[in-house]
């Protein structure tokens, strides 16, 4: 039961890879060191099937945690970029809003 090859574990793997694809700066996903590591860990814990294996359950939990981390931080950045304030208006812009010009405004 506690195996890394169960369906939920593989779903987590796909989610992880999809997040890393969105965030990684390497062209190919296979070149990413994290992807290589995750795949090797999944392979390593694959053979411990059909046992009351604590490590696989742990691995799956860890994978899920990492997925949550990647997903939430990306979501946070996206929302932040979308709704970020533009900063303060400059004195010139404020003056323009109420129909004034700056004292030393060069004439066009």
């Amino acid at each position: 039961m506690a195996s890394i090859t169960t369906k939920p574990a593989l779903v987590t793997l796909r989610q992880l890879l999809s997040e890393l694809r969105k965030q990684s700066s390497t062209k190919k996903l296979a070149e990413n060191q994290m992807v290589q590591y995750i795949l090797s860990q999944y392979r390593k814990h694959q053979s411990t099937d059909q046992q009351l294996c604590k490590a696989a359950e742990e691995m799956h939990y860890k994978a899920k945690t990492y997925y949550h981390y990647l997903h939430s931080s990306r979501q946070y950045k996206e929302i932040n970029v979308e709704f970020k304030g533009k900063g303060e208006r400059s004195v010139e812009e404020t003056a323009k809003m109420v129909g004034f010009k700056m004292p030393h405004d060069p004439k066009p």
């Binding site: 060191q33 590591y37 939990y61 990492y66 981390y69 939430s72 709704f83 004292p103």
Partner: protein
């Protein structure tokens, strides 16, 4: 004349203070750093791991090399640096920040200080304060928080009463002793990360449940924001406040959990190496 002077200085100062953001050509009030490296990788140094940016070692703000004990953590930090686009946004790099704090220890604190702080925090735990005004919310809290509280009492073999008003509940000395012993069993980086998670969730019970794999970070954040969620169902959801908050808390809790898991894992894996192998490794 005076007014003229005032205007000229007030227009100069903001242009000096502000930097132009290259991508949006708008003024930004904080300094941004461009991504100055191409790739991020890791190197192994005996049984410690370091992160490299284009063959240069990543350092903490105090100038020490960023050294971590576990490989997955080093890889995750490298992936975090790798995920930065044009500018480096350090505010969202929680794993790097947690490792930096653990190494630099800017507050000059010890594990005992942190354990003390957590024990002070414990009576104000979110899960111990149930609503006494709204019946519906009270039922929801009993339904959602009840199982977690039950798990907590069973797992640590303590009894904890809950508060129905503003007064914090009584905490017995037994509970304090059990929790103190548990907190001190973590090493410093893990304890530091634990505090980070507790402060995000505003609840040490939820954080303990996460560390014990009873709850996932997402579920824990949902439970911590239970009252907010209850109100949202009635008043509506605003993405730039509620979803942003939810995403940030989940990222923080997940990051602190990763650090805790990696530190506890390195301990167990070190314990598992048989003594014969250890001596042969030492002689090699």
């Amino acid at each position: 004349m005076n007014i003229l002077k005032m205007f000229s200085t007030s227009t100069i100062i903001p242009t000096l203070l502000r930097t132009r953001c290259p991508s949006c050509t708008r003024f930004q009030n904080y300094a941004t750093r461009k991504r100055f490296y191409r790739s991020a990788g890791i190197v192994q140094n005996e049984n410690k791991w370091e992160v490299t940016l284009d063959h240069r070692r990543l350092k903490t703000p105090n100038g020490r090399a960023l050294v971590v004990q576990s490989e997955p953590l080093a890889r995750a930090i490298a992936a975090e640096w790798d995920a930065q686009a044009e500018t480096i946004s350090q505010a969202t790099m929680h794993l790097t920040a947690l490792c930096n704090t653990a190494l630099d220890n800017p507050g000059k604190i010890t594990s005992h200080d942190i354990a003390n702080y957590l024990l002070e925090y414990y009576p104000t735990d979110t899960l111990l304060f149930h609503s006494d005004e709204e019946e519906e919310l009270k039922n929801l809290q009993d339904k959602k928080w009840g199982p977690v509280l039950e798990w907590f009492q069973k797992r640590y073999n303590v009894t904890q009463e809950i508060a129905r008003g503003l007064e914090p509940p009584l905490v017995s000395t037994d509970t304090r002793a059990v929790l103190a012993r548990h907190f001190l069993s973590y090493d410093f980086p893990a304890l530091n990360a634990f505090t980070f998670g507790v402060e995000a969730l505003k609840s040490s019970i939820l954080m303990l449940a996460c560390v014990d794999k009873y709850l996932e970070p997402k579920e824990a954040v949902l439970l911590a924001r239970l009252e907010e969620e209850y109100q949202l169902a009635r008043w509506g959801r605003v993405p730039w406040a509620h979803e942003l908050n939810q995403a940030e808390l989940t990222a923080r809790v997940a990051a602190s959990l990763l650090v805790i898991q990696c530190s506890s894992e390195s301990h167990s894996s070190r314990a598992k190496v048989p003594p014969s192998e250890q001596t042969s490794q030492a002689t090699q």
